[in-house]
Symmetry: C2
Subunit: 409 residues, 2 copies
């Protein structure tokens, strides 16, 4: 069961002027479920995207990159679940293109003004004729208050729909930021079977929007991991319609930019954490803080060594304050000159290890108390500098094995 996570209700997800969403059941892999989403963007919307770095990136990811580079004006997004159109070679590219052509025909725009996204089973042929057949119903369904339906339609192994909204005031104007995401397994930096869409009605220049998405993703989706696998299809889009009016935000040192950037980052963090809370089989939400490092890179190395260790993840599942496994992971993280006698390890607020061993003040009852919680913070203080890094992850349960042994993702 997801850890402290509930589906938003429709009113939680504020409409973003200039963005409409439509969904339908297109029977792409299963019947009786929504599996196709169209999102249209008003003229003049700026769009920025970040995509998986997997060398086996899926056909729609290739096409998204091409269309973003070629077209100054994206008009719509097309998202299907049930099939990832990944590992499908040249035929997969043809099918992704065909789906863009069909939507472009309905919307009277150019093919390269459409961005396609797919998630679901890998290495199977995308039934593009079902995508095409479903498009008119999606277009007929387009509405600004349809974010929750879209969040539901993009789910795969997700148990809970994921969405977040916030509203801020910039220069006397009310600005909305709303986002939805899907993903539960294979979550890792450089992203994973993760799709995320964040929109705002603020007016933002392309270069400022590009800077903003990188800032936000490095503090949100790139700080989460469920099982260390990265997928072929991960994509995050940030869209700014400009319909709020007001000056275009283009100076990344301005107060307006920072206010919007922080609101976008806040929504991205909520979505990213929701993905971890809904991690396959998750029973615990873990925050891994590594502090006092020489640089952020070494803090992240140690954080990931902890977050990826199956031994630690199973111990957390068992609520076992198994300090040895955490110290062993710190030791093999690859920080060659780490002096283990200088570091301190905390579970929650409890100092558990220092001077190369168990803290003299530590009693196991204190560690057990922390481990019984559904949300646990592991904090490592390296004592060799001022850099820090925070990651979020979840535990490894019987259900993780069950889900991934049974489900053909």
């Amino acid at each position: 069961m997801p850890v402290n996570l509930h589906s938003p209700v429709a009113q939680d997800l504020l409409p973003v002027p200039g963005v409409k969403l439509g969904v339908t059941e297109a029977n792409i892999r299963k019947s009786d479920r929504r599996d196709l989403v169209v999102m249209t963007l008003t003229h003049g919307t700026a769009v920025a995207g970040v995509f998986t770095r997997n060398r086996f990136c899926a056909a729609p990811v290739v096409l998204c990159r091409q269309h973003l580079a070629a077209s100054g004006q994206i008009r719509a997004l097309l998202i299907n679940t049930g099939n990832a159109n990944a590992g499908t070679g040249e035929d997969g590219m043809l099918r992704a293109r065909r789906s863009c052509e069909a939507l472009a025909g309905l919307l009277n725009c150019a093919d390269n003004q459409i961005l396609p996204f797919s998630t679901g089973v890998i290495m199977e042929t995308l039934p593009v004729e079902r995508v095409v057949a479903g498009l008119p119903a999606c277009v007929a369904d387009l509405a600004e208050d349809n974010w929750l339906n879209a969040a539901t339609a993009i789910m795969t192994t997700d148990i809970v729909a994921k969405g977040a909204s916030t509203r801020i005031d910039i220069g006397g104007r009310s600005i909305t930021v709303t986002g939805i995401a899907k993903g539960s397994g294979m979550i890792h930096p450089n992203m994973a079977t993760m799709l995320g869409y964040i929109a705002t009605d603020a007016a933002v220049s392309q270069s400022a929007l590009d800077a903003m998405i990188h800032y936000a993703v490095n503090r949100s989706f790139n700080c989460i991991t469920v099982d260390g696998d990265t997928s072929t299809n991960d994509s995050l889009l940030l869209m700014a319609t400009g319909l709020s009016g007001g000056d275009i935000i283009s100076d990344i040192h301005s107060a307006e930019y920072k206010a919007l950037r922080d609101a976008v980052t806040q929504v991205a963090v909520q979505l990213a954490q929701a993905i971890v809370r809904d991690g396959e089989g998750a029973t615990k939400f873990m925050t891994i803080e590594v502090q006092g490092g020489r640089d952020e890179a070494e803090c992240r190395k140690i954080g990931y060594a902890i977050a990826h260790s199956p031994l630690i993840k199973t111990a957390f599942f068992a609520s076992d304050p198994n300090l040895g496994r955490i110290l062993a992971a710190i030791g093999y993280a690859g920080v060659e000159d780490l002096d283990v006698n200088l570091l301190r390890l905390y579970l929650g607020d409890v100092l558990v290890a220092e001077n190369g061993g168990r803290a003299s003040s530590y009693v196991e009852a204190d560690g057990q108390r922390v481990m019984k919680e559904a949300e646990i913070t592991v904090r490592v203080v390296l004592g060799r500098g001022r850099a820090e890094s925070t990651l979020w992850t979840c535990d490894f349960s019987y259900d993780y094995v069950k889900i991934n042994a049974d489900y053909r993702s």
Copy 2:
């Protein structure tokens, strides 16, 4: 259950002239089980060791390194299970030293002629008084035909005792190589809660023995992984007593050196593979071959990405030929300029993927046939060079989670 692995019987493990072993029940953590081993080496035995690179290496590992560097003449090994004496700080060092002193007293040698080894629970105080109390019984038990008892006494979560022997002819003399090992989880390159002891009665110079152990470990223990965690205590020892007589092998280009090196490597491979076959919860033994790379490093990167992926390991547990997960792992392994359209992927003898997608000749029934076997070879042909690398690993089962959620290792 271990995959195609049975415990050796006593006659399988050939005595090595000059090596005696004694075991006892010292009640270190549990009663009614052998948990203490002494191994004595005749005068003139050459000893080489490789140890964990974990920054949190245990007290006995620190002491082993010191004693090997300081003493030209190791006289005995002292091994306890039940407690790893790791993450125990300065007090752990004192206790490790105390155990060496006690055995040195019984054997009339210097403290630094003893090498100590510990395995078991981490971050708990070694009950050194029980180790010391058990030593006289170990010494009274010393015998050359005691290898199987020693293999049994060093087990922790192992289900099956691990040992291997071979005999070769070098220059008309019969040479024996016998080894034992323990380990089942946390197996990884740079080694893991793994202890291995290989002895021969050949006469080998120190420098040739040092070269030989690195050659053997790089083709055996450094090619296995169960869950990617590396432990604080891993150690492999290679000992050459010289009692076979004959010239001392010192030229690493000689036929004699190569014959012995290959015999030692063969024993090391058998022991390493036995550790994977006995991996915690293992139901499948997987060989990951990566060929056609530009260099061995990139082949190993891709091999480990496959071998460490929980998604792939759970799919193998389910006998599911989930090609997409394997291709995704190849894609995120970190080989930046990999052209996925050039690679071919095989499950056993079945070509399953090429040209960036599913092979046109592939039908899932063929993949299923391979996946149902207890031993499965995944072969990736990168098509960009001539380097290759082979790894061995096992699958991830419900029992892996159960063992590691329940057991305080």
